[in-house]
């Protein structure tokens, strides 16, 4: 768990260095312009429209490094807690 957490923190650092504060959505759009449209169509048409607007869109609007940083930080913390016993 700690290894995954540290990997995500490294990824977050890399994203920060490469893209600064650019939103995750903008970074993904630059890498593949069609990927988010497809993802949105699948989520909103086959799952739940609000899942995109209220859950995924805020993540995509945040700077690209935030999601891996938060997730990596949490995993590292819980991994450290578990290691302490």
């Amino acid at each position: 768990m700690r290894l995954i957490g540290l990997s995500l923190l490294l990824l977050a650092a890399g994203l920060f260095v490469s893209f600064g504060g650019d939103p995750l959505g903008a970074v993904l759009f630059r890498l593949d312009p069609g990927i988010l449209n497809l993802a949105q169509a699948v989520v909103q048409r086959y799952l739940l429209p609000m899942l995109w607007d209220d859950v995924l869109l805020p993540v995509l609007e945040a700077p690209a490094f935030v999601a891996p940083a938060v997730l990596g930080g949490a995993l590292s913390f819980f991994g450290w807690m578990r290691a302490r016993g």
């Binding site: 939103p23 993904l28 069609g34 449209n37 909103q44 048409r45 429209p49 995109w52 869109l57 995509l60």
Partner: protein, 310 residues
């Protein structure tokens, strides 16, 4: 000899509405007018001037139920799903201004009411074919784009007409996706714009065009896939530069500039050979140019090197 000649508007005396019914109807209309004055939403619905149906354009299919057409919508600014009609009601329909600019002799801003009053409104029943392989038949009210062009007078250097949709971040959640190339932009050639089928739509089913269908004003070229028809238009620009449309910038392999309907050219992810009719669910064969080839095929005779079908 007295020759009786039947005219299309002739009616036998037996079909004349009795006087009492006529006057009762006037009373009912007076009551209705009072209700409209009290309700802004209803008053807005009353704002579409009467328009005669143009019988030159025969859809060859039954008109789709109004409820289906007004509750199953593609309007990406409100989401990628089909049930955006409730969210779209938050879009203010008045005041609304359409700016006509660029390579024209008479650029000007039209208030929507001004357009409704000035343009030659008529009703046309057109087929609409979505690139997603569903279709509908709608009685649109509107005016030929050529009527608007006649007022603004395109310069001889103008080659394309570009349409831009309103950007209203406070009511359009899709605009939060700042990485997309908003505003929604579409366009056509000046020759396509001049074609008699090119239609500016301000109403449907005899009512003002509702927001979810692109109100208060949208474009429609029935021989093209529906995404070519810009909704809730605020800018019409004439230019000598071919526009790169919204979807072209995002997925050019799937959504091109021309996007003429052709059952023989599949979308990269599905066949275009057939279409599902909204409402009935019936599957019917798709027609070349959505069945409007006799009106538009000539536009493309010298463009065979272009990617005309996607």
């Amino acid at each position: 000899m007295h020759i009786l000649k039947f005219r299309r508007f002739s009616l036998p005396e037996s079909q004349v509405t009795p006087e009492a019914l006529v006057f009762n109807r006037r009373q009912a209309m007076a009551v209705g007018a009072g209700m409209l004055a009290a309700s802004p939403a209803l008053a807005q619905q009353a704002g579409l001037p009467p328009a005669m149906r143009n019988t030159r354009y025969v859809p060859g299919r039954a008109i789709t139920a109004e409820r289906e057409v007004t509750t199953y919508n593609n309007f990406y600014e409100f989401g990628s799903h089909k049930t955006i009609s409730a969210a779209a009601q938050r879009m203010p329909m008045r005041p609304w201004t359409v700016k006509v600019e660029g390579m024209v002799e008479n650029p000007r801003d039209y208030g929507i009411e001004d357009l409704l009053a000035r343009m030659p409104l008529e009703e046309r029943v057109y087929r609409l074919r979505c690139v997603e392989a569903w279709a509908m038949v709608v009685p649109w009210t509107g005016f030929p784009l050529s009527a608007l062009m006649a007022e603004v007078k395109p310069l001889s250097s103008a080659r394309y007409v570009v349409f831009q949709t309103a950007t209203l971040p406070s009511v359009m959640p899709g605009l939060r996706q700042s990485w997309y190339p908003w505003p929604y932009t579409e366009g056509c050639t000046i020759a396509e714009a001049a074609n008699e089928l090119s239609f500016m739509v301000v109403g449907a089913y005899g009512k003002l065009l509702p927001p979810q269908n692109g109100g208060p004003i949208r474009f429609h070229q029935p021989w093209k896939y529906g995404f070519k028809a810009g909704k809730s238009i605020v800018t019409i620009r004439l230019t000598d530069q071919r526009p790169v449309s919204f979807w072209e910038k995002i997925q050019s392999q799937e959504y091109g500039f021309w996007a003429n309907v052709n059952p023989a050219v599949p979308h990269p992810r599905w066949s275009q050979a057939q279409e599902r009719m909204l409402g009935t669910g019936e599957t019917v064969p798709t027609l070349l140019f959505n069945g409007y080839g006799e009106f538009v095929a000539d536009l493309y005779t010298n463009l065979q090197r272009e990617r005309l079908w996607a």
